[in-house]
């Protein structure tokens, strides 16, 4: 790690939210260090409320850390930008743009010529299995399709890193499994650097080359579990003994935290 400069470096980043109405300040994230090598797929696993979104939003530049800093390719992150593509848990397609226009949004912002724009859009429509939906309005799409468009929209910018905040959290189990395979298939081909937040243990293992386990609030990274399962992976992987061993281990890690998180409420 000392030899290769990491793609993303999170140094000592913490976040304290000021208390509302004179209440006590909320520490959402304890000082956290994290380094993501290029082409790695990292999942951040933790119970809800542990500060996963807070950390991801700081990396995206949508929020500022109370202490510490985030470096992408050695440059400090101070505001959001297209080199850090983000997919949110809530459906954030622009409702007034159709599918193709949504995917082309970032390209249009950068003034990419029309012909090139169309090429890129067609490429991602095909890869996301969205051909034939180019002129649909977001409202007309299922949740899974909307998230596929959201991923395509982020990828169309060719970001240095892709940030995903529980993107499949609102989907049903079957759709979610298909989406995981789709995303993994894209990663296996392009090897984009990915930081993926989830509270689902299976999802964390299936996708990742490394799972980072976070503690209950205030969050902190408490364990790092490498996932040495071979690629390409498909759904059958989820029933292998190796997968189950990892699952058992992470269940132990996360259980204590979930209990803590539950006691808080």
């Amino acid at each position: 790690m000392a030899l290769v400069r990491p793609k993303l470096l999170v140094e000592n980043v913490s976040r304290v939210f000021p208390g509302v109405h004179g209440g006590a300040p909320v520490t959402a994230l304890q000082p956290t260090n994290l380094s993501v090598p290029e082409n790695d797929f990292i999942t951040l696993l933790g119970p809800s409320g542990c500060g996963k979104s807070t950390l991801l939003r700081i990396v995206a530049g949508l929020d500022r850390p109370t202490t510490g800093r985030v470096l992408l390719d050695g440059r400090e992150v101070t505001k959001p930008g297209p080199e850090r593509g983000m997919v949110f848990q809530s459906y954030t397609l622009f409702p007034w743009l159709n599918v193709a226009q949504n995917i082309a949004y970032g390209l249009a912002e950068r003034g990419v010529p029309e012909a090139r724009r169309r090429e890129i859009v067609d490429h991602y429509l095909a890869r996301m299995g969205l051909t034939g939906f180019a002129s649909h309005w977001p409202k007309q799409l299922s949740g899974g399709m909307q998230q596929r468009v959201a991923i395509a929209r982020a990828l169309a910018n060719d970001p240095a890193i892709l940030l995903l905040d529980e993107p499949f959290g609102a989907l049903d189990n079957q759709t979610r499994a298909l989406m995981q395979e789709l995303l993994l298939g894209i990663w296996e081909r392009d090897r984009k650097t990915v930081l993926f937040v989830t509270h689902d243990i299976e999802e964390a293992i299936f996708l990742a080359s490394r799972v980072l386990v976070m503690t209950a609030r205030p969050g902190r990274i408490k364990a790092e579990v490498p996932v040495d399962l071979p690629h390409p992976r498909d759904y059958r992987m989820k029933t292998t003994p190796e997968f189950n061993a990892l699952k058992a281990r992470l269940t132990e890690e996360i259980r204590a935290e979930a209990v803590l998180a539950a006691e808080e409420h």
Binding site: A60, G61, L62, K79, P80, G81, P82, R84, G85, M86, F88, S90, T92, F94, P95, W96, L97, N98, Y105, G106, E109, R110, H136, W137, P138, K139, Q140, R153, A154, N157
Partner: protein, 258 residues
Amino acid sequence: MIRPLEPVGQTARVGLGLAFFALFVGAWAFATLGGFVSRTFLADPVTMLQDGWLLLTRFGFLHDIGMTVWRVVGGFALAAIVAVPLGILMGAYKPIEALLEPFVSFARYLPASAFIPLLILWAGIGEFQKLLVIFIGSVFQLILMVAVAVGSTRRDLVEAAYTLGSTERSVVRRVLLPANAPDIAEILRLVLGWAWTYVIVAELIGSSSGIGHMIIDSQSLLATGQMIFGIIVIGLIGLVSDFAFKAANRALFPWRLA
């Protein structure tokens, strides 16, 4: 048979809507033609139609209607040209909101009709004064409503735009504007309805043309048929412009309906 929130079919909807109009006119005809109300105070529907026909054919009422429509449209267009950009700026930029919001909230409660005597002093009794009444009556309402709509734009859409490479300025143009365009159109439709009340008031005082002027003229002649005809014409124009606005919105913003 009637269940809460249960939708009603299209034919039944139109039928019921028309039925109430029929009921209303029926009750009116019964009260007047049946001799229960003095004709001095309330004309019957037949007389109203005859008076209306006379107004249109003999007394140049079409010109009055044209004048009134032009005043509403002119005053309202001026108000919209000022209010929509200002409202967008207020909604988007909080310091501008902090600067203007208290004053606009105050000005909104100043009744436009109370300004008429003052406006006559300043601008005379010409067309400009009429436009000003409508302008004052609509502009503050428009500003506030547009500002509220723009201010409540979904934050996650704005954030998504930033992560896709939008700058602060292009977020206004490419997110805040299109996201709120249908709401702004709806606000314009609503406030245009209110502008109609201001124009009539403006025409009741110091005017020599317009529907309001006709109504005040008819009062001195006790011509209730003409007065009611004038009022009904206003209602019909309102209905037509409302339909036109709604149709335009449907055509302009198909993504809302999909």
